[in-house]
């Protein structure tokens, strides 16, 4: 069994690099896209908040696999238009298409996490900020954001693990992540142990993420903050 690991170590390293970079980029860009969505979701304008809610509902209601297919194969149908806009190099590449799907998908989930976190900020803390004469921006940056980030931490770790697992779907559109390498090697020698090697890879990454998160959560002061007393 181990011969499949040692003989093809470069393939596995490549797969691991792809999986980890897809997950990290997906979470980070997903967060950046989630910020305006969460803001729109909480805004007083009903058009904005409805539009943001529809986006979240659409993304969370459909399988990620269908979203990946829609972007990779679906947009491929419009390749002459995309060429005209100079975007074809991006949507031609399975890795970028998969990443786009992960970012758009994760953004919807992270926007809901953010929204929940912001709503959970105790009112007293915001009022205290107003009483101290802070501007709205200062209140957001110095009071709401730290508390929200702290509160969000467990859900954010969860999202990290979920996106890591979801990243395996990109192997279906031929990208060689850990899962993709396992499928490639299996197609060559029909030895099931390659799937167990892949399973071990995922298990170790997930356990590492969980260990890291336990550490972060134990240091986090805001996690159980419930307002002054």
């Amino acid at each position: 069994m181990l011969s499949h690991l040692t003989d093809n170590i470069d393939l596995w390293v490549e797969g691991l690099t792809n999986t980890v970079s897809l997950t990290l980029l997906g979470v980070i860009f997903g967060f950046l896209v989630a910020l305006p969505i969460a803001a729109a979701r909480l805004s007083k304008s009903s058009i904005l908040s409805r539009a943001a809610y529809s986006y979240v509902y659409l993304v969370r209601g459909t399988p990620l696999l269908v979203q990946i297919f829609l972007i990779y194969y679906g947009l491929g149908q419009f390749h002459s238009e995309l060429k005209g806009m100079g975007l074809w190099w991006f949507f031609r590449d399975a890795f970028y298409c998969g990443l786009t799907a992960f970012v758009l998908n994760s953004a919807a989930y992270q926007a809901e996490i953010l929204r929940g976190g912001i709503l959970a900020v105790p009112k007293g803390a915001i009022e205290a900020g107003t009483a101290l004469g802070l501007t709205k921006l200062q209140i957001f940056r110095k009071i709401i954001l730290p508390i929200t980030m702290g509160r969000m931490l467990p859900a954010f770790g969860n999202e990290f693990v979920l996106l890591l697992k979801a990243s395996a779907l990109i192997s279906i559109i031929t990208v060689r992540d850990v899962m993709g390498q396992a499928r490639f090697l299996y197609a060559q020698n029909f030895d099931l142990s390659v799937y167990y090697i892949a399973a071990l890879n995922y298990l170790i990454i997930v356990l590492l993420i969980e260990a890291l998160w336990r550490k972060l959560e134990s240091r986090n002061v805001w996690l159980h903050y419930a307002g002054g007393r």
Partner: protein, 237 residues
């Protein structure tokens, strides 16, 4: 308009094929759900018992199936089960090869994943009901079976339903994966339609709409169940 005619029911369009695929997708989800529910309770029970072997097994089961990508679990179950079954059959009939029913493999893999997720739901619902209820039942002289089924379980549903509703939505979406192991579900029929018509954007959009409708219908049912399970908490009028 031309595109919509692709969805015609009958020989000219793909409407009937997609409907058949939808039937398979729903069949997988509805077959998996009761098994997953049952195993959720068993695994949650396994995590609470004193026997260390059962406890370690249940915790390991949860960790593994929560950590692995569903696609990987699906492929491992599909291929591994097939080779195990063939190895067993070869002991008796050396030259018979059977191929495992992909539907069964899909249901089994999804059951493993969702019972691991569900066991956490059951565990937290059990904690939410609180020890006091079981202790009160014991003080009243009920045995453990009665205490669980008559006192604790009915109160657990209220805490379970929202999280199980969530899991059901995830299950519906995850059924899309079984198209990878050659089950003729919705996604696979859509892929066939695309291979002929060369209209990927349209057919994948149709798939997305179908899944949205399923999610919407599920949320209606969930609201109804939630109202019923928390009926005792609503004031009189």
């Amino acid at each position: 308009m031309e595109l919509l005619s692709l969805l015609a029911y009958g020989d000219t369009g793909w409407g009937d094929e997609l409907l058949r695929g939808l039937g398979v997708t729903l069949a997988i989800a509805f077959t998996t759900a009761p098994f997953a529910l049952l195993f959720s309770f068993l695994i949650a029970w396994g995590k609470a018992v004193k026997n260390p072997v059962i406890r370690v097994f249940s915790n390991g089961y949860t960790t593994i199936f929560r950590s692995l990508p569903e696609l990987l679990t699906l492929l491992i179950i599909y291929y591994q089960l097939q080779s195990i079954i063939n190895a067993v059959i070869h002991l008796v009939f050396p030259d018979v090869n059977v191929s495992l029913n992909a539907f069964a493999a899909g249901v089994l893999a999804l059951t493993l994943v969702f019972s691991a997720l569900g066991s956490e739901v059951v565990r937290s619902a059990y904690q939410a009901v609180g020890k006091g209820q079981a202790e009160a039942a014991a003080a009243l002289g009920l045995n453990r079976r009665h205490s669980f089924f008559r006192i604790v379980l009915p109160q657990m549903w209220r805490h379970c339903v929202p999280a199980f509703g969530n899991l059901w939505l995830i299950l519906l979406k995850d059924t899309a994966l079984v198209s990878v192991i050659a089950i003729s579900d919705l996604v696979r029929y859509a892929n066939m339609a695309i291979a002929t018509t060369k209209e990927p954007f349209f057919f994948y959009s149709v798939l997305a709409i179908i899944f949205i409708i399923l999610a919407f219908l599920s949320s209606l049912v969930q609201t109804h169940i939630e109202r019923r399970t928390s009926a005792n908490l609503q004031g009189g009028r």
